[in-house]
């Protein structure tokens, strides 16, 4: 379940990483906050990488049967 959640939030996770990156570079963020941001970032990085490496392409076919019957 946790994994599904991750893949759904993949885009958000990446955006958060970018945000953390710029926060860490800014001068306004203190040491304690920096450390917790860093921990969060590393955790996100790990989950994103594993999501990406485990991903398998899903393919499905759109059912058009109803329309086909009516047009035939």
């Amino acid at each position: 379940m946790a994994k599904k959640k991750q893949s759904n939030n993949f885009e958000k996770d990446l955006a958060r990483l970018e945000q953390i990156s710029s926060l860490l570079d800014s001068e306004d963020v203190g040491l304690e906050e920096s450390i917790s941001l860093y921990e969060e970032g590393i955790k996100l990085s790990r989950s994103c990488i594993s999501t990406l490496k485990k991903a398998e392409l899903k393919i499905s076919e759109l059912k058009k049967n109803l329309l086909k019957i009516s047009s035939d």
């Binding site: 893949s7 759904n8 993949f10 885009e11 990446l14 990483l17 970018e18 953390i20 990156s21 860490l24 570079d25 040491l31 920096s34 450390i35 860093y38 970032g41 590393i42 990085s45 994103c48 990488i49 999501t51 990406l52 991903a55 398998e56 392409l57 899903k58 393919i59 499905s60 076919e61 759109l62 058009k64 329309l67």
Partner: protein, 412 residues
């Protein structure tokens, strides 16, 4: 008028009644005669002409005129036949048709009943293309401002193409390589020949009914202008324009431009490139993440060092140094005090000792006084008592101590 009838009189068969050697025909008889003659003699004709007044009836039949500078002829093409035509005829298009002449007696009209139709040349298709392009452009279907942005991280991509085609396989392998997180939904579609345009239109509409499709790729591999023609049809252009979901076109090769390409929100030169444009590259994402880990780790180390330095600096600053100095100074003070105390004590001790000595002396002397009172004499030579005969020295000053006084004896 008579002269018009002569040929038919001449052609007519003997069973017709003669009246004054002139055969009189009913309209129906005449029409029947004309019909027979025309339909026998023109059972298969090929005609070249330009389309005008083209109408596609709701029943699926086509009605139009073919004309040239000198004449016009009515044409019909029934649904069963026109389904095999790969393009939608347009007014002004020059075509070659094959069919037969039929006569419609109730109206006294004749027409070409068309079995097959093709453009008079590739130039015709090109012109049809240009005409439609101009028309749709004027309507604003190609406006850049109307184009929808393509999402960077799609969750679901809809594909409109033939499920058995090479284009689909190419797109799948690109998606697998670049971004396997994505989900593909294929609306398998006829992309060539008659009915393809309708099929494509339908697929786009159906995908639009799905709420979770982020982007649609309309694709087809390379082919001739006839093969790709469905993508130059007006209904396809309008379906793309009306799609709520952004559409990327990937039709044919780099050099092929279709009307669909102009209407699409993004045009890709091939189906594979369309999939590339629809997906982020996971290698880029991994690079980004790795870079993040590297740079943020470095950043944090820097930060820690900065703070460490700051702590060190504070510790060695004047403010932090003072207490230590104070401790040292106090301890020195304590040392001084201790030695002073020590000296004072020593002095006190000395005084006490001296007093004690005095007491002892006075005690001793009081003891001697008692003895002297009884008549004893103390002999002193050189400030020392002479307590034995052997210690007495001749020719030395001698003091005799009595209870009530002393006598000094001169040396002898």
């Amino acid at each position: 008028m008579l002269s018009v009838f002569y040929p038919f009189y001449y052609l007519s068969k003997p069973e017709y009644k003669l009246e004054n050697h002139i055969q009189i025909l009913t309209v129906s008889e005449l029409t029947k005669e004309i019909r027979q003659r025309l339909e026998e003699n023109f059972s298969s004709v090929s005609v070249i002409g330009e389309i005008s007044n083209f109408k596609s009836h709701i029943s699926g039949h086509w009605y139009f005129n073919l004309k040239d500078s000198g004449a016009v002829i009515n044409c019909t093409m029934w649904k069963g036949f026109n389904q095999n035509v790969f393009f939608t005829p347009q007014d002004g298009m020059k075509i070659i048709v094959n069919g037969k002449i039929t006569v419609y007696p109730p109206r006294g009209s004749y027409q070409v009943d068309i079995r097959s139709m093709k453009p008079a040349g590739l130039g015709e298709l090109q012109e049809a293309f240009e005409r439609l392009k101009k028309k749709l452009e004027a309507e604003g279907l190609f406006d850049e401002a109307q184009k929808k942005p393509i999402p960077t991280f799609p969750k679901k991509i809809g594909i409109v193409t033939a499920i058995n085609g090479a284009a689909f396989k190419d797109m799948i392998s690109v998606a697998e390589r670049r971004y396997p997180l994505v989900e593909i939904i294929i609306a398998s579609t006829k992309v060539q020949g008659s009915g393809a345009a309708e099929n494509i239109t339908e697929s786009i509409k159906l995908l639009n009914e799905k709420s979770d499709v982020d982007v649609i790729i309309v694709g087809r591999g390379g082919g001739s202008i006839e093969d790709l023609w469905a993508f130059n049809e007006e209904i396809v252009a309008r379906a793309i324009y009306n799609s709520k979901i952004p559409i990327i076109s990937g039709i044919g090769h780099e050099v092929d431009f279709t009307i669909a390409d102009y209407v699409a929100d993004l045009r890709a030169p091939t189906p594979s490139v369309a999939m590339e444009l629809a997906t982020p590259n996971s290698d880029d994402i991994l690079n980004f993440i790795n870079q993040f880990v590297e740079s943020s780790t470095r950043r944090l180390q820097e930060l820690l060092l900065t703070f460490k330095d700051a702590v060190h600096q504070s510790l060695s600053s004047y403010g932090f140094r003072t207490p230590l100095d104070l401790v040292r100074w106090k301890s020195q003070q304590a040392d001084t005090l201790y030695s002073k105390l020590n000296q004072a004590f020593e002095r006190k001790l000395l005084v006490i000792r001296q007093k004690l000595a005095l007491y002892i002396k006075s005690l001793e002397s009081s003891d001697v006084q008692r003895t002297l009172r009884r008549g004893f004499v103390l002999v002193k030579q050189n400030s020392k008592f002479v307590t034995r005969r052997t210690l007495f020295k001749e020719n030395t000053e001698t003091q005799l101590n009595f209870y009530d006084g002393k006598i000094e004896l001169e040396k002898k």
